[in-house]
Symmetry: C2
Subunit: 216 residues, 2 copies
Amino acid sequence: MPTKSLLDRKAAGSTIKKMKATLSRERVLKTAAQVFAEKGYAGTTMRVVAERAGLQAGSLYYHYRSKEELIEAVLSMGLRGVADSVRLAVAAVPETASARELIDTAIIAHLTSLLEYGDYALASRRLLGQVPPRIRRKHIDLRDEYGDFWLALLETALGSGELRPGVDLHLARAFTLGALNYALEWYRPGGKPLEEIGSEFSLMICDGIFSRRLSE
Amino acid sequence: MPTKSLLDRKAAGSTIKKMKATLSRERVLKTAAQVFAEKGYAGTTMRVVAERAGLQAGSLYYHYRSKEELIEAVLSMGLRGVADSVRLAVAAVPETASARELIDTAIIAHLTSLLEYGDYALASRRLLGQVPPRIRRKHIDLRDEYGDFWLALLETALGSGELRPGVDLHLARAFTLGALNYALEWYRPGGKPLEEIGSEFSLMICDGIFSRRLSE
DNA sequence: GTCTATACTTTGATAGAC
DNA sequence: GTCTATCAAAGTATAGAC
């Protein structure tokens, strides 16, 4: 039955093509995240991304229609990835838990997923000001929604009386996220285990780096 | 005496020219810092810097020989400015002061001068990875020297028993500088006074955001 | 899907008039 | 000191062969 055989071969060929397309597309995206994070938006050329992904420059345009479409994909991955991970982790905390446990979970989830998303997270936090206005607005909104989530988390802790009374929640959020996001600049795998870093950071954020003076 | 008069006029003209040159040079540098901080290294064009500084593109090259020379000047200003301010402030603390007072001073000086140097500080921290290799190395060294200074500061505090025992000094430094440097991203003048922000940050870094549980 | 070739645009930098 | 004019290099993106 030549007809069926032909169909089979055709179907098989199409499937392989799609798999190849998906693989290439992901490799391009990952490479783009690396280069964007390192060189900035304008400093990233389609030629370099293509070269590092093992393609010719023209071939990129089969997977992404433009440089703008490429940076959009990178930014979304970096912002949504981390935000979703943290929301998920926090949602899994039992209702009975203290606000401290909630924030402890959020801190560790943020740090962990941030480093897991690596160059995506880096690019999405470094390049927001460099990309074309339309893209910038969209992703600044994403970032701010996640910021609101953190503010709500801190409000809970303040409401339950666990935060130091009178603490400025906006400052506390900036303080926390700043300390955590900076890990993108210094963290290198191979040192202290990530879980350890996470719990030490959580301790520093919640209780500071100085000894407690019980006399106070 | 036409001779003397001529000399006078010539000297006066030369002086005015020099003043004009200095003014333009500084305006160009300041403008460059703004654009670099916003758009990244490659995203900053000499034409845009010139335009915002009220000059034609070609005229920039009278003040700076190249784009590289321009970014070097911006980076140096941002890194040296903050580092020198903090060292100066710490050096002025009395010998009798506690390590806590020393670090409190450093925190506030870092935050204050960081925001004072604004776009210079921003550019020098965002663009290190984007600039040509030769320039990058030089300024990464500058940044690392300042990092050593902070590590020494924390070692002092650990040595005097004021830090929580067993705290990882490298992590504590990353934690502190991360929280502080992030202010470059969110701080806008017009809100809470900078002194207030400084002391609240110092409190959060040293004692955390949670209430102290005296029972522990 | 990927390659080669190429059209079009922008950029850093220079030269010479004023 | 600043301007105008201009060049060579490098960038994004497209078109058509394979």
